[in-house]
């Protein structure tokens, strides 16, 4: 009841004030009239009435305070005053807000990506119950496709899925290709990511259908030709997502019907969004990973190729589930291999990893952490700047504060006022920062080629709120306390000439600036290291000229090996006829894609003895492979059209192979193989070149004709073109379309772009850190400039006296310059130990440069000195231009 009356009072406050004033006036007038009735004179009567009444203003305040709203009024007054203050100092406010917004925006943007990649839960029901299933490795004797840590056999999946004591459900999925695959819904073929999944995939994960239905256990049991598509894909392909239901869809040439569209926020469980899901199939075109092997995932119990996710029963802990699942897991793992681990083999173990973030992002963890630390430093520098700005401004407001304190204003009120100012600054900056963050995230996703929808969620907003509140407190409380400590008497009677009084604050300001310089040094050194790493990587000789090389994948749906060979032979002829194309070849694994075949080497029929590393990397390739790429032939010949499935098996090996396995003998005439069952005669030796990526060390390698190793369903076509590679793409596309109208060109790129992709993390890191370093330098320059300008302003009188007494202008410049240089030296002293610690943290990401690279460190230190001279030079010149007379009259 009280509250209702209080609120209605608040609503009608103006009227209430008027009424109270009217009531009081009436009271005084009636009293005055009464006094006049007692014989007082007119003037005396009203004076007495007023005196009897008491302090009307105070009483009005007291009456108003009775309603308990005074705190609100004070607050409103603080805000209004803050608004006036900031409006009067628009330049200051704009710089402070912009600086902070940059810092907050960059931090939020980076954190959004970190969050999406590493922290965010999947958009499913009860995500905390969901785990990815990992294994230590695959058992000896088994085969694997995909990451060996996350791959399981169908046999293992079948034996674990019924384990209902701890599992609420176990789902399995496997990509239909190591890359995107070709589907056709409508007239044109296109590339999509598609998975083959267990029937409980959607129900087990807890994903509903946006329209239609989700795939079911019956779909898996009967291997039905029904497909589920993602909301995004359906929207893109059919305009209206739900229009997808019932539409036919050809997946690698096999007809399917779309029966469901998954919930709009579900984009699959892999790093890149999944477009299409089909139930497990048993037909050669739709094998796991697009494999062309004669075995299917389901018929070969030792092929570890499927990924699994587990939903635990509620109340079951991760440890309990692991303990319960490991015995049946080990039984199922070794049963098809004779029942037990080999001599000396440590049995495989299964573990559960919370399904957070995006799978396969583990390699981005460290780079992201580094970027996060960098933007963190940037924010600290930005905060430092605003602090310097604020304390400079508060110092010039010292008189205002003193007057307020002297007139009886409370310290609490003063602090609250300053806090209000910083809160306004910080929250304006946060709002602006969030806008920056959205564009920063978008830019970052594009740079990183992350096909993710990284949007700020609750976690991100909490993160931003946290750093904002921390900033607001730092800005408000710090200066407020120093402001409330100003010595009143001193300040009112005096001003700038007496430098001693605020020595404490200036020293604090100097240390702040030095710390900023130190952090800037850390950022500059890190940037130097990352940029030099990138330069080194970009100048790595990959073993052949990449200019003019164009590569694309192609996946003809042909079962028969003879027909497939004919297809590729004709395709090569067709492509050679394109005017811009000089030479054409094929390969199973695209160079620099990160994929490679790794097996034990067989040389002259057996695994080489007396070498510590028997691993052989190999690739299956087409005719003219080395001629097309431009890899120098050291001995023997290149592959040609005569190397077919019918001709004798041949191989070409590289220099390292010869050195490592043949001890430098003449290799021609020896045999090389990836299996003990088939020997390939070495007919050529070539110079070393890069295979899986730029950072690779020289490896023992062998190449075999694609016709002789069992054919892959997807081959990559490499073209040497005359002129820029991308310029040839339209003509190439046209030639392929005329030859095979149903086939899409898979991921057409220049070979150089493919190599760049293999160092995309390094490119991203170098670019981001450069951007941050530039920002840091700008901020630090502004901060230092502010500090020095302020001290010059404070020392105007002193400089005037010095000049009047005959000091050279040059010595004045030096005096100011020296303070800047001393500050930067202090910064270097603080920063160097930090550099030593932090560059070690970068070590694993560097290439061809040591963490304590003298050039990077010296460059950064010089940069800091340059910043100091630049930021100090302008105020120093201004000081030298001071007119002694004006300066002395200045007080």
């Amino acid at each position: 009841m009280n509250l209702i009356r209080r609120i209605s009072f608040l609503m009608s406050q103006d009227r209430q004030r008027r009424e109270l004033a009217e009531e009081m006036r009436l009271h005084r007038e009636l009293r005055a009239r009464q006094l006049r009735g007692h014989g007082l004179e007119h003037g005396e009567a009203s004076q007495t009435a007023t005196r009897l009444f008491g302090n009307e203003t105070l009483l009005k305040e007291k009456a108003n305070d009775m309603w308990g709203w005074n705190w609100l009024e004070d607050l409103g007054r603080d805000w209004r005053q803050t608004g006036r203050m900031l409006a009067a100092n628009r330049g200051f406010a704009a710089i402070a807000i912009l600086t902070l917004a940059l810092g907050i925006g960059a931090n939020t943007g980076i954190f959004t990506v970190t969050n999406a990649l590493l922290l965010q839960s999947l958009p499913v029901a009860e995500p905390q119950q969901l785990y990815r299933v990992n294994t230590t490795r695959m058992p000896d004797g088994a085969g694997n496709t995909g990451n060996s840590r996350t791959s399981f056999s169908d046999y293992v999946f079948d034996h674990l899925r019924g384990h209902s004591a701890v599992l609420s459900s176990l789902v399995a999925y496997v990509p239909l290709g190591s890359n995107k695959i070709s589907v056709r819904a409508g007239t044109l073929p296109e590339e999509v990511s598609a998975d083959m999944v267990s029937g409980n995939f959607f129900s087990g994960l807890g994903v509903k259908a946006a329209c239609g239905r989700i795939l079911s256990a019956e779909d898996e049991a009967a291997h039905t030709p029904f497909a589920e598509v993602s909301y995004q894909y359906a929207g893109l392909r059919f305009g209206e997502p739900c229009a997808a239901i019932g539409k036919p869809m050809n997946i690698k040439g096999v007809p399917f019907t779309i029966v469901g569209v998954a919930a709009s926020n579900f984009k699959g469980v892999e790093r890149n969004p999944t477009d299409v899901w089909i139930p497990f199939q048993v037909r050669p075109e739709l094998n796991a990973w697009g494999s062309a092997g004669k075995d299917y995932y389901s018929s070969s119990p030792n092929w570890w190729c499927m990924l699994m996710m587990a939903r635990l029963k509620s109340g079951v802990s991760k440890a309990a589930a692991e303990a319960a699942l490991n015995p049946p897991f080990q039984r199922a793992a070794y049963e098809p291999l004779g029942g037990k681990p080999r001599q000396g083999e440590r049995p495989v173990r299964l573990s559960l990893v919370p399904a957070r973030g995006i799978d396969g992002s583990a390699s981005l963890k460290q780079p992201l952490l580094i970027v996060q630390v960098m933007v963190g430093l940037l924010l600290v520098i930005a905060c430092g700047n605003v602090l310097v700005l604020l304390s400079v401004r508060n110092a010039s407001r010292a008189r205002e504060f003193c007057v307020r304190l002297a007139l009886g204003g409370s310290t609490g009120r003063l602090i609250r006022q300053l806090l209000a100012e910083s809160v306004v600054l910080v929250f304006a900056a946060t709002a602006l920062g969030l806008v920056f963050a959205v564009s920063a995230t978008r830019a970052l996703s594009r740079w990183a080629e992350l096909d993710i929808a990284a949007t700020p969620d609750g976690t991100v907003l909490w993160f931003t709120l946290l750093i904002s509140v921390a900033a607001a407190l730092a800005f408000g409380v710090g200066p407020a306390f120093s402001a409330s400590r100003v010595a009143i008497a001193d300040s009112i009677k005096n001003s700038a000439a007496t430098a001693h009084r605020d020595r404490g604050r200036v020293t604090a300001g100097n240390i702040l600036t030095a710390v900023q310089l130190a952090l800037c040094l850390v950022l500059l050194t890190g940037t130097g290291l990352l940029v030099r790493t990138l330069q080194n990587l970009q100048h790595v000789n990959v073993g052949f000229p990449t200019g003019g090389l164009l590569v694309f994948g192609i996946s003809p749906q042909i079962q028969d090996q003879g027909k497939a060979e004919a297809f590729y032979r004709d395709l090569i002829v067709k492509l050679r006829a394109v005017p811009q194309v000089r030479s054409v070849t094929l390969m199973g694994n695209r160079i620099a894609s990160g994929w490679s075949n790794n097996t034990d080497a067989y040389v002259d029929g057996q695994t080489p003895k007396n070498v510590d590393d028997t691993m052989l990397r190999w690739n299956d390739v087409g005719p003219d492979f080395f001629t097309t790429l431009g890899i120098p032939l050291l001995a023997g010949r290149d592959f040609n059209e005569a190397d077919t499935s019918a001709s004798g098996p041949v191989a070409i090996v590289n220099r390292t192979f010869v050195k490592h396995f043949l001890h430098g003998q003449n290799a021609l005439g020896h045999t090389a193989s990836f299996t003990g069952r088939k020997a390939f005669s070495i007919v050529g030796v070539v110079e070393d070149s890069k295979y899986s990526g730029v950072e690779e060390d020289p490896q023992s390698m062998a190449w075999f004709p694609y016709t002789q190793v069992g054919y892959s369903r997807t081959l990559h076509v490499e073209l040497r073109t005359a002129g820029p590679a991308m310029a040839a793409l339209p003509a190439v596309r046209k030639a392929v379309a005329e030859f095979a109208p149903d086939l899409a060109l898979l991921q057409p790129r220049t070979q150089q772009a493919e190599f760049d992709r293999s160092i995309s993390t390094e490119i991203l890191l170098a670019r981001l850190s450069t951007a941050f370093a530039v920002l840091a330098v700008i901020l630090v320059t502004i901060g230092l400039y502010g500090t020095i300008s302020y001290s010059v302003k404070r020392r105007t009188t002193e400089v005037g006296i010095r000049l009047a007494l005959g000091a050279e202008r040059g010595s004045v410049v030096w005096m100011i310059l020296r303070s800047g240089i001393l500050l930067s030296l202090l910064g270097l002293a603080i920063g160097m130990p930090l550099v030593f610690v932090s560059s070690r943290f970068l070590a694993s990401l560097l290439y061809g440069v040591t963490p304590l690279d003298p050039l990077s460190i010296a460059g950064a230190a010089l940069g800091i000195l340059a910043v100091a001279v630049l930021a100090t030079g302008i105020p120093a010149r201004r000081a030298a231009a001071i007119d002694p007379l004006t300066a002395l009259r200045y007080e």
């Binding site: 009841m1 009280n2 009356r5 209080r6 009072f9 009424e19 109270l20 009217e22 009531e23 009081m24 009436l26 009271h27 009636l30 009293r31 009897l52 009444f53 008491g54 302090n55 009307e56 009483l59 009005k60 007291k62 009456a63 108003n64 305070d65 009775m66 309603w67 308990g68």
Partner: protein
């Protein structure tokens, strides 16, 4: 000689005056307190108004605007039900306390 009204009893006095005289405006309340106490108790006149605002907030009195005999606008205060209860409470507490104090002072 005039006495300042003891702290905290102003509320009680206002309520008491309103309970016997019905509807009064501020000046009348002040005058009534003085008149009834035969000019011994003097309200520090202005302090009446914060007290009245507090009682409005508590809901012990209600107020409405009306006209005085001289046809001037004035705010008239009336006792509410809650106000009567409050008055009864305060009076019984006051009586108890003053009786106790009286007994102590009257000790032979």
């Amino acid at each position: 000689m005039r006495q300042e009204i003891p702290q905290g009893t102003l509320d009680m006095l206002i309520l008491r005056v309103l309970s016997s005289r019905g509807s009064l405006h501020g000046f009348e309340i002040a005058n009534q307190i003085q008149a009834i106490s035969e000019d011994v108790l003097r309200v520090e006149e202005g302090s009446l108004y914060p007290a009245l605002q507090r009682m409005l907030m508590k809901g012990w009195v209600t107020a409405e605007w009306g006209k005085t005999a001289e046809n001037r606008r004035a705010r008239y205060y009336q006792l509410s039900k809650a106000g009567s209860r409050q008055l009864a409470d305060e009076m019984s507490r006051y009586t108890q306390v003053s009786a106790a104090i009286g007994r102590i002072l009257n000790l032979a």
